[in-house]
């Protein structure tokens, strides 16, 4: 794997009486597309602002290429930010906006001119040089904000929920755009969002956060398939999270029925949480299921149906390309590979994180 570009060591930060980050450690590799994912107020924006230099941590260090930049002011850092609401200077034209950083660095006129047209081409907004930001649509402003940041050739681009204000279609287009940009530029992206779909689509690595604590770090697939706790499981996609008891290795008891699984090492007769993704629940003939239930609700979702099944006083969410009529009896069967066992939360904070849901 590539070298570590940025490292956050033991970062603490509080605003007034509210502790936002508590002893947080995180590193970002070069060329990585890393996403901080979590609900609002989880501390992800604070991390970004600490990296950008807009906030200084109460304690801890920010390392950049193994150099301590904790106390370096924002303008001396080799990274640039794309702000949530773009923050394009309203009194400057698009060209002036893009040239802002370059002029500060006293680059030559011709260099700046080249850079502007290169950047505008890159974001597909040729010919917008002399317009003012308020004459642009949200998506266009967004792309200008990116252009303004990348002309400075930062080692790392910080993006603070950059797609939050765009509508759905535009958001999807921009996701592809961002991936393309990242590949073309070959720099590190730190992306902050609360949208799990964005995170899963674009990232190399996702950091799931809640209440100032990192819940899980991993590839999108890791995070999705093997959430380490109920918070992650619930936050990433839809999940059936059911309390259960680990009878012994590879056997878990849920809702008074024994399910085969592949997990080991949880001890014997230990309470655990069990995560089963809706698409992993197979609805079969009642007699073929491990347990049986009744379909209470069916919604057509385009590519699949989403159904609610009441079985042993638990409401299962099931996604399937086949539909069963409401009130029909069905059997529930789950492939052992698709059963994900998680420890019950132990620390007070983790518990808080779960209860908060």
């Amino acid at each position: 794997m590539a070298e570590r570009l940025v490292e956050l060591q033991n970062i603490c930060k509080s605003f007034g009486n509210t502790q936002v980050l508590d002893d947080l450690n995180l590193y970002i590799r070069e060329n990585e597309f890393l996403t901080l994912l979590g609900p609002s107020g989880c501390g992800k924006t604070t991390i970004l602002r600490i990296l950008g230099g807009f906030e200084s941590p109460d304690s801890g260090h920010v390392m950049f290429h193994n150099k301590d930049i904790t106390n370096l002011p924002p303008h001396s850092r080799e990274l640039n930010t794309v702000f949530q609401k773009y923050a394009l200077f309203p009194h400057m034209t698009i060209a002036e906006n893009i040239a802002f950083g370059l002029k500060i660095k006293k680059k030559s006129e011709s260099y700046i001119k080249d850079k502007i047209s290169y950047a505008l081409k890159l974001v597909n907004l040729d010919g917008f040089e002399n317009r003012y930001p308020d004459s642009l649509s949200g998506g266009q402003q967004q792309r200008i904000a990116i252009a303004r940041a990348i002309v400075n050739e930062p080692k790392m681009l910080l993006l603070d929920e950059p797609l939050g204000a765009l509508d759905l279609k535009l958001r999807q287009d921009m996701q592809y755009e961002l991936i393309r940009l990242k590949n073309e530029l070959g720099i590190t992206f730190l992306y902050v969002t609360h949208d799990q779909e964005e995170a899963l689509t674009m990232s190399d690595t996702i950091v799931v956060m809640n209440q100032g604590y990192i819940q899980q770090i991993g590839t999108p697939k890791d995070i999705y398939d093997e959430p380490q706790n109920a918070f992650v499981a619930d936050f990433i996609g839809d999940s059936n999270i059911i309390p259960g008891i680990m009878i012994h290795d590879k056997l878990v008891k849920i809702l008074d029925a024994n399910f085969d699984c592949v997990d080991t090492g949880f001890g014997e007769n230990k309470p655990v949480d069990v995560v089963i993704r809706p698409e992993d629940v197979d609805l079969v003939e009642p007699e073929k299921g491990i347990i049986t239930g009744t379909v209470t609700d069916v919604l057509f979702k385009g590519v699949h149906y989403e159904m609610c099944v009441m079985a042993r006083d638990f409401e299962w969410i099931v996604q399937s390309t086949d539909s069963f009529p409401v009130d029909s009896k069905v059997g529930i069967w789950v492939d052992p590979f698709n059963i994900q066992i998680m420890h019950k939360p132990e620390s007070e904070d983790e518990k808080a994180a779960v209860i908060d849901l």
Binding site: F54, K85, N152
Partner: protein
Amino acid sequence: MNKSKTTLLAAPYAVWSAGFVVIPLFIILFYGLTSENGGLSTGILQAAADPINQKALALSIVFSLIATLICLLIAYPLSLVLSALSGKAGRENTTFFTMLFILPMWINSLIRTIAWQNILERTGVINRFLNFAGLPELNIINKPPAIILGMVYDFLPFMILPIYNSILKINKDYIDAAKDLGANNIQTIFKVTLPLSLPGIIAGITMVFVPSLTTFVISDILGGGKILLVGNIVEQLFTLDNDWHAGSALSCVLMVFIIINILISELSERKDLSENSKGGIEL
């Protein structure tokens, strides 16, 4: 609510301002355009051509421009300091700072200006202190610098408040963005904060320039009667000469300058009608 009915709420004000703002201005114009025997006159042109008036007007313009510039140079950095301080401590401080600059106005401006005599006089506070310290005396009382100082003193709050307000209104993201793009604090101020607070600056300039241009009190109190500003002449034409026609004519000349000033501030305001930039305070 019924739109036309709601609009009627502005009717009392419309009537009031027609009666007490618009008509009185026409009365001045009427006096300016007529002579004592009732005929039309070229009083306005005469007033503009009179060398005494010209000199007073020129002096007034120079003094008030200098005073306005000094106010701006004092008020802008101050507003930056204030907004930095209020930014840290939350919104409540804004009220406190605003009050801090409004409250001196609750003590009558005349008496405060008179107090400057005591401070600046030959035997005044400053010179006693300088004598005590063995330094040369400061002798500006009854001279132009004292008048300019009086103008700066009296009208400084009118420069501070709109600028402070407009700086407070600047979205913090713009400042962060500028720093993020490599601008240091000074560069950020000149390239981002300053242009974005322009409405406040222009409002402040108007609020200081016009009263400085037309004051007669400050030159009376701190000028030792040796310096006639255009306001002094207008005042004397009304109260000493009892010559309303000449006084109105000179007022009309004065208004030309005021109108120019208003037009400039109108132009800058076109951009956003909603902006509360003119000396309005926000608590």
